[in-house]
């Protein structure tokens, strides 16, 4: 699991580079990718956890990115986009595609719905993290000033 978490960090760094992010920002994005995937796969290993892993993973990505953005005075987007890529349910979309091509429509629909649900869980996680963290961080800053 540690290995896969590190791989996730590497993915975040590679996609960060692909999106033209540079310097120490990449390291932060890599750490966010590693921690979020580690937590997410830990939760996913619980039987019957369903989409909890995806949701919490996105929540952690969003929250850590908001904190990093406020500390480093950079747009949160720079951290979120590279780190969220690994959570995109590409394998389910692929399975669904292959099932449809083989005329296995039922399992195609099943995988497709799974992918849509996972994408929904990711969106809700990101949205919740941003909506909660941003006002908190702003208020904290105002107090400090």
């Amino acid at each position: 699991m540690i290995e896969s978490a590190l791989l996730s960090g590497l993915t975040a760094v590679a996609f960060g580079l692909l999106y033209q992010v540079s310097g120490s920002t990449l390291v932060v994005a890599g750490v966010i990718g590693t921690v979020s995937w580690g937590l997410s796969s830990l939760l996913s290993s619980i039987p019957g956890s369903g989409l909890l892993g995806d949701f919490v993973g996105a929540l952690v990505v969003g929250a850590m990115a908001e904190i990093a953005a406020s500390v480093r005075h950079q747009p949160a987007l720079v951290f979120v986009v590279p780190a969220i890529i690994v959570f995109v349910p590409g394998d389910q979309v692929y399975e669904s595609m292959v099932a449809f091509l083989k005329s296995h429509f039922l399992s195609g629909m099943q995988y497709g719905m799974g992918a849509l649900m996972a994408a929904g869980a990711l969106s809700v996680g990101l949205a919740l993290a941003t909506a909660v963290m941003r006002p908190m961080l702003r208020r904290g800053k105002r107090k400090a000033v």
Binding site: Q20, V21, Q74, V78, I85, D91, Y94, V98, L126
Partner: protein
């Protein structure tokens, strides 16, 4: 033309508005959220003492207007993901609002920021290859899968960049790039690799509209519903185009009776 307060500072308002619109265009074309674009433009306007500025930003256009003065409208046709530009323009607007510089210098630094820290196209191939390789391992591939996945990532990025340079963007470009993304996986399946699916997903992930999904969510929270809806639609269309493009070689391969695990 009447004298506005900013004219006394010897900066014509129209010029300032144009530079502000340039900054907004750079941000929007690189994939920034609507709220950030509007924020940056307002901040720049305040730094140059342009009074009563109204900014409207849509996903494909922006308007900036100062009271009793001009309106500048920009249409954004080409969009690409470049977070370096977002970060650089953001930094520039922060610097300027602390310590205003002459408008000419701002213009220069802005055009610098628009071409900032870009890696060379060959380097991008390597990044895409590493990304695809790592994804293939995460998606349940075995060690051998990493080699075709590296090829798939680099090849996909190569095709996408060529298409972009040729002026082909949007759905059609996504579709053709997806065809390229799948070919190495199909070739590997032909030569008995245990998990051709992992290779395939690695290649396709290079094309994922991850930025669009993220900005759509963030726009939605901010209440920029028009932009959120448009970006969700764009992400769905792009995903559909990628799926369609990826299906084509697979379909032909299956129809030819190719083996697939």
């Amino acid at each position: 033309m009447s004298q506005t307060p900013s004219d006394q500072l010897s900066i014509p308002t129209r010029k300032v508005l144009k530079v502000i619109a340039d900054a907004g265009t750079a941000l929007l074309a690189s994939g920034a959220e609507v709220a950030r674009v509007e924020d940056t433009m307002q901040r720049l306007a305040a730094a140059y003492h342009v009074e009563a500025v109204e900014v409207i930003v849509l996903p494909t256009a922006l308007f900036v207007s100062a009271a009793g003065s001009d309106t500048v409208i920009r249409r954004i046709r080409r969009r690409a993901v470049n977070l370096a530009v977002v970060a650089a323009v953001n930094q520039l607007s922060r610097d300027v609002s602390h310590k205003p510089v002459p408008i000419g210098e701002l213009e220069e630094r802005l055009s610098e920021a628009r071409h900032t820290a870009r890696y060379r196209p060959e380097a991008n191939l390597l990044f895409a290859a590493v990304g695809a390789g790592a994804i293939s391992q995460l998606m349940g591939g075995v060690r051998v899968d990493i080699i075709p996945a590296l090829v798939a990532g680099a090849f996909t990025q190569f095709v996408r960049e060529r298409l972009h340079r040729a002026g082909l963007v949007g759905g059609v470009a996504d579709m053709i790039s997806a065809v390229a993304a799948v070919l190495p996986g199909v070739a590997a399946a032909h030569w008995d690799v245990p998990h051709p699916g992992a290779i395939l997903v690695g290649g396709i992930m290079v094309l994922t509209p991850g930025l669009l999904m993220t900005t759509a969510v963030r726009d939605g929270i901010q209440g920029d519903l028009l932009s959120a809806a448009a970006r969700i639609l764009e992400a769905l269309l792009s995903a559909g185009a990628i799926a369609a493009g990826a299906s084509l070689p697979l379909y032909v391969y299956f129809a030819m009776g190719g083996r697939w695990t």
